[in-house]
């Protein structure tokens, strides 16, 4: 806090404050000399009186000095600056970084303008209010924070032009991340430092108290959301199983959320390739619903999937996209010669969508293979198997006597011990929590996946915390594990020879095997990305000399092609994109980019929920004017002068009366 003066030239007149003292001394009436018989009693009287009178005289002098000072102050025209030193006294200009929320929610319209339009207006006002020596920067909040200058600069005009030129994005973003960048930019700058956050402060993206305010930095929050916009959005879209086969049933699930305080009825249109399904959805207030559609497509290939709500006030999140790749069949192979391998082979043949072969040598492992089951693996060609899982191949291994390197990759302490007889035979159990792989059996309507008895067993020796168990012996020993770091790698310890276990003889075996086979394979295409993503993809997955990226309108998006990865040069807005072989025109990959679900909640938080420790709340840029330009104090001083004069008169009157 400091003071400045509009008329500092009058400062030399300050000694006039002593005028009341001089007047007080000079204006004292000259006493009339008078002889008096004795001062004995008078002195005693005055001593008694002085106890009351002297403070009153001092009070009078004080009041007179104060009103003189107040009147002098009126002419000096002081201004009160709550933070900045007054002009002429500061050694450095102010450094201000405006964190401007440019995420999708800021496109929501309130009245005649969007939240972003209001935010840019306020930001421009703030920038205009800075002095020529002040430095400023604007960091736009989007998927990656976007600073307009590498560090705060003095050219505020350019910043104003830029924020007006650049629209709000359809991306999500982290206010806190942008704030940290702003704090970093201000860290070594001298003078007063300030960060102003202009945002709609969505409940899902803003966490009060999470700001780590650096010492000496003033933080202001300027919320631009004035009202809660009732909004419904498609917040999720998925295909189950994620990698279906042509001719096989698959399910499309769409999540609809209602961010309004009233129940809503909306119409959802699901498009899968050429097929269109419409659903009426009743949404509870602040609730959600899932729309499910079971479909079957006969033709293999990439298929776009969209879920679209009828339009509302915020249409950006009413459409969600996903990319589906239908395979013509699943190519599976079995390696091994024991009874277990034989039973796996027979089980695979039970599924018409699966073309099965026996793989004699692991050296012959084909890149086109989708599923591989190995029984009695001795640890050879670990490199080939590792590459197979890394490109999404589903691998089941029943270890034989692998070497140490193979054990390490499998997540085993050592090779399984020798097969021992269990007497009495052991039953099987499903661990808690119920594994997602076995979800078909969770409600019990399709039997139990843990039926059957185990007579002989070679126990697995997994390293701690490396696997998720799927089936256990009654003793708790795992018989079926899923590797946590390589989710398509499964370990199996049970011999399926009927003399050793009866699991494969149960009616639940084929459904159990099918669930694993179809449900555990990863989607051929990666999951949809959020807007602002660059759709990076490994070169191994784009086997083309000249790949190109196109959106659904056929527009080319420039690529950054590295040695190992290919990515779009610019952050991508929501849409369906195709990586294509430029030479052949073949579609290599279909990708979906969606609006981040967090951007759909357009609730305006009340100010008390926004306030964060170390930050101050503002309602508009004009609030800064008195802080920047100072608050004129002359009206206050004038009022004080009147009050002091009035008090002086009262004290004088009381003195005379007494």
């Amino acid at each position: 806090m400091s003071l400045g003066f509009d008329n500092p030239g009058l400062l030399p007149l300050l000694p006039l404050a002593a005028l009341p003292l001089l007047l007080h001394l000079m204006a004292r009436p000259r006493p009339r000399p008078l002889g008096f018989p004795s001062l004995m009693l008078l002195e005693r009287t005055q001593r008694d009186n002085a106890r009351v009178k002297r403070p009153r005289h001092w009070l009078l002098l004080l009041l007179r000095t104060l009103w003189t000072l107040a009147i002098l102050g009126v002419f000096l025209q002081p201004r009160h600056y709550s933070e900045r030193p007054p002009a002429g006294l500061e050694t450095h200009g102010r450094a201000v970084v405006i964190v401007l929320d440019a995420t999708a929610s800021m496109r929501a319209g309130e009245g005649a303008q969007s939240r972003y339009a209001r935010a840019t207006t306020e930001a421009a006002d703030i920038l205009r209010g800075l002095s020529a020596r002040d430095r400023a920067n604007v960091i736009r909040v989007r998927a990656l924070p976007e600073p307009l200058y590498p560090e705060p600069g003095v050219n505020k005009r350019h910043l104003i032009d830029e924020i007006r030129r650049r629209p709000a994005t359809l991306e999500g973003g982290s206010l806190h991340e942008a704030f940290q960048l702003a704090a970093t930019q201000l860290r070594d700058l001298p003078g007063p430092r300030e960060i102003i956050l202009l945002s709609d402060f969505q409940p899902g993206t803003w966490t009060p108290g999470r700001l780590q305010v650096p010492d000496g930095v003033t933080v202001r929050l300027l919320p631009v959301a004035e009202e809660t916009i009732p909004n419904q959005a498609v917040t999720g879209l998925r295909v189950i199983p994620p990698a279906p086969v042509a001719g096989q049933d698959f399910t499309v699930e769409a999540d609809i959320e209602n961010f309004a305080d009233t129940p809503e009825r909306r119409t959802l249109t699901l498009r899968v390739g050429e097929r269109i399904e419409q659903h009426t959805v009743d949404l509870p207030a602040r609730g959600s619903a899932v729309v499910t559609d079971v479909l079957r497509l006969e033709d293999p290939g990439g298929v776009p999937v969209t879920a679209e709500l009828d339009a509302d006030r915020f249409p950006a999140d009413d459409l969600r996209r996903a990319a589906l790749h239908l395979q013509s069949s699943i190519r599976a192979a079995v390696h091994g010669t024991d009874e277990t391998a034989e039973l796996w082979l027979r089980s695979l043949n039970a599924f018409p969508e699966v073309s099965t072969t026996r793989l004699e040598r692991l050296d012959d492992l084909s890149d086109t293979l989708d599923v591989l089951l190995i029984s009695g693996w001795d640890g050879n060609r670990t490199d080939r198997l590792r590459a197979f899982t890394e490109r999404g191949g589903l691998l089941m291994i029943r270890p034989g006597t692998p070497n140490d390197a193979a054990n390490a990759w499998l997540g085993l302490e050592r090779a399984p011990g020798p097969e021992t007889r269990l007497d009495p035979p052991s039953g099987l159990a499903v661990p808690e929590p119920w594994p997602d792989t076995l979800r078909l059996f969770r409600d019990g309507r399709h039997g139990s996946p843990a039926r059957g008895l185990v007579h002989r067993h070679a126990p697995l020796q997994p390293l701690p915390d490396t696997h998720t168990p799927l089936l256990l012996l009654e003793s708790g020993e795992p018989v079926w594990l899923r590797h946590r770091d390589h989710p398509t790698l499964f370990l199996w310890s049970l011999s399926l020879d009927f003399r050793h276990s009866t699991l494969a003889a149960q009616t639940e075996w084929i459904p159990l095997f099918g669930e694993w086979l179809f449900g555990s394979r990863p989607a051929r295409y990666p999951a949809p990305a959020d807007a602002g993503d660059h759709l990076a993809v490994s070169r191994a997955h784009l086997p083309a000399a000249h790949p190109e990226l196109l959106d659904s309108q056929g527009t080319h998006w420039p690529l950054d092609i590295g040695d190992h990865t290919i990515r779009a040069r610019d952050p991508l807005p929501p849409g369906l994109y195709r990586y294509r072989n430029a030479d052949t025109g073949e579609t290599l990959q279909l990708r979906a980019v969606n609006l981040p679900a967090a951007e759909s909640d357009l609730t305006a938080l009340p100010p008390e929920e926004l306030e964060s420790e170390g930050s101050a709340l503002m309602t508009r840029a004009a609030d800064l004017t008195p802080l920047r330009e100072g608050r004129p104090l002359w009206p206050l001083l004038l009022a004080l002068a009147f009050v002091f004069i009035l008090l002086e008169q009262l004290v004088t009157l009381r003195t005379v009366r007494t």
């Binding site: 000399p33 008078l34 002889g35």
Partner: protein, 289 residues
């Protein structure tokens, strides 16, 4: 005989039939018309009393002292001619007030008393205390003496500072017999000091009369906004606004007078306050009839 300046014809007319009437029996060297309670040195023994400071050591009964190790004085019954001694404070503080000044008023009262005492064929004495000096006129009854006293009273001008307790101590050495003692002053001294100095007189059984003479402005303080009060005796100055002090000053003055009155009552002395605007003979009520 009397100087017209103090004793005007009107006063003399009023005093024509006045007689000196002390409150107690008086002690005198000469036989007179008053019964004296003084345990004097005549032939008829009356009582012993304890020695008090100021008593003539020659009157100590040494035989009693030899027997009891106590200093006691023998006293005797006697008929005496009474006396009246006036101690007049003629310090500068008495030179205050308008027509008349306190001193002029006090001198006139003293003159009236001297005249009346003489008219009653008694003796009158005077101690003038002025500027630290004491002019002593021992009690006597001759016309010449009385005339001299009246002239002295008339011509004395007040000056200097007076230490009343010191004057009383001086008078105690001069006054050996019972009489009526009239102190005329403004009594600007601590009451305790004054009555400490009066103690020997009380022990001697002297009939004490304290007459405090004040000018009206002393009671109410002069009018005006700010006054540089100058002490008439010491010359010290004090700036004060009478408007601010008046109420409190009255209280302080009343406290002072109350203290004098209470001590006088305890000592059996008469205490009276008289203002210079009052009739002068009112000052002598209780002393003359």
């Amino acid at each position: 005989m009397a100087t017209p300046r103090l004793l005007t014809p009107e006063l003399l007319r009023e005093l024509e039939k006045a007689r000196f009437a002390p409150r107690t029996r008086v002690e005198g060297q000469h036989a007179g018309r008053h019964s004296s309670p003084a345990r004097g040195s005549s032939t008829e023994f009356r009582d012993y009393r304890a020695y008090a400071p100021g008593d003539d050591p020659a009157r100590v009964d040494w035989r009693v002292y030899a027997r009891s190790d106590r200093h006691v004085l023998r006293t005797y019954e006697q008929e005496s001619q009474t006396g009246c001694v006036i101690l007049l404070d003629a310090s500068a503080s008495m030179n205050y007030g308008d027509a008349p000044t306190k001193h002029r008023f006090a001198a006139r009262a003293a003159a009236c008393l001297v005249h009346t005492v003489h008219q009653s064929q008694d003796q009158a004495g005077l101690l003038l205390s002025r500027d630290g000096e004491h002019r002593w006129h021992p009690p006597a009854g001759s016309a010449r003496h009385i005339n001299h006293l009246l002239h002295t009273l008339d011509e004395t001008t007040p000056a200097g500072a007076t230490d009343l307790p010191a004057s009383l101590r001086h008078l105690n050495t001069l006054l050996n017999r019972r009489c009526t003692l009239l102190l005329i002053s403004d009594f600007y001294c601590p009451p305790a000091d004054l009555f400490s100095a009066l103690n020997p007189f009380i022990h001697k059984g002297i009939d004490l009369h304290l007459l405090q003479v004040l000018a009206p402005a002393e009671r109410d303080l002069p009018e005006g906004e700010l006054i540089a009060f100058r002490d008439l005796e010491t010359g010290l100055k004090l700036r004060a606004d009478p408007r601010e002090l008046r109420t409190r000053y009255r209280t302080v003055l009343e406290d002072h007078q109350r203290a004098l009155r209470e001590l006088a009552m305890r000592s059996g002395a008469a205490y009276k306050v008289i203002h210079t605007r009052q009739p002068v003979l009112r000052a002598l009520e209780g002393l003359i009839t």
